[in-house]
Amino acid sequence: MPAGGAMVEPGPISLNMRQLYNLVYEWYQYDDLKSVSRLAESNRIWNREDDNIRAYIDAVRQMPVPGQARPEQIFDVAVQIRRGILEFTCGEQVNDQYNLYELAEILMTLYQQLQEERAQQQLRASIHDTTIPSAEEYFQRAALFYDKELEDDIRNLGSRAALADTNWEMQQLSPATGMKYRDAAELHFREINDPNNLYMLTIKERLSIDSIQIKS
């Protein structure tokens, strides 16, 4: 955990989950338990007990209101749609784009992404130095400190992250110095001046770089 505060919930994923969950929630409100009759009919055909009807009604009534729903609660609803008590409704169309099954699948994927983001935050926090108020603040300030460095994602040129991340790491090795943003030379980076270097040729627009990707 970053020192001095609770972990910040990654915003965009949570927001997406809530927006999509809102569609799910509204479908069940609109249905107003009318699907129960289908469940009862299914029970009759398959000679099943009706105890799943009570479970279904409870699950619908206990759905959290979208504005207050936590990602874990949304995930639980999605699981119920995919393979739980709500599964028999999963083919229901919610709008032109999605049925409940598809929405549940997206919600489960988003929840996994959220978990990965949380794990990353914890990793950053695990090498966190108490002299820095929080990891978030460190990286926000780093973005400002290194803003004189060219950053051009379209041309795949840029060094801000390498400098900020490397400084971050060095900061962990010297906590006694307090927070410090070092320049490239202090971080053991030396500027390349060779005119035939890929960077220089790209700046001069003799070459372009379509992408640079770590091979998995």
């Binding site: 840029g158 992250a161 790491e169 053991h188 890929l198 770089i209 640079i212 990707q213 770590i214």
Partner: protein, 99 residues
């Protein structure tokens, strides 16, 4: 352990271009604070790219940030190289940890 970065290049001119990637040239994450390693080329590379040709060059790289997670995804090219010579991953991490 080394990694491989695939660089997709295009020669935008009507003449062949000789391209150098320096040993130690730094490749940066696209976003600050992801928790993933930034990397540096393990040796010099010299490529000659014919006019208007698009080509993929595989560059062997080592990790710069010992405490961070293995590199992944897309990178940016930086104008920097590691200021001291190195042979192994251990060498590189020792350089980077020197204050």
């Amino acid at each position: 352990m080394s990694w491989t970065a695939d660089i997709v290049l295009v020669n935008k001119t009507g003449a062949a271009v000789q391209v150098k990637i320096s040993k130690g040239q730094v490749f940066s994450n696209k976003k600050i604070g992801t928790g993933y390693q930034n990397v540096a080329a393990i040796r010099d590379y010299v490529i000659t790219l014919p006019p208007y040709v698009r080509s993929v060059k595989a560059v062997e790289v080592l990790c710069i940030n010992e405490k961070l997670r293995p590199p992944t995804g897309f990178l940016n090219l930086t104008p920097y190289m590691i200021s001291k010579d190195f042979l192994t991953q251990k060498d590189l991490w020792e350089i980077m940890s020197t204050r």
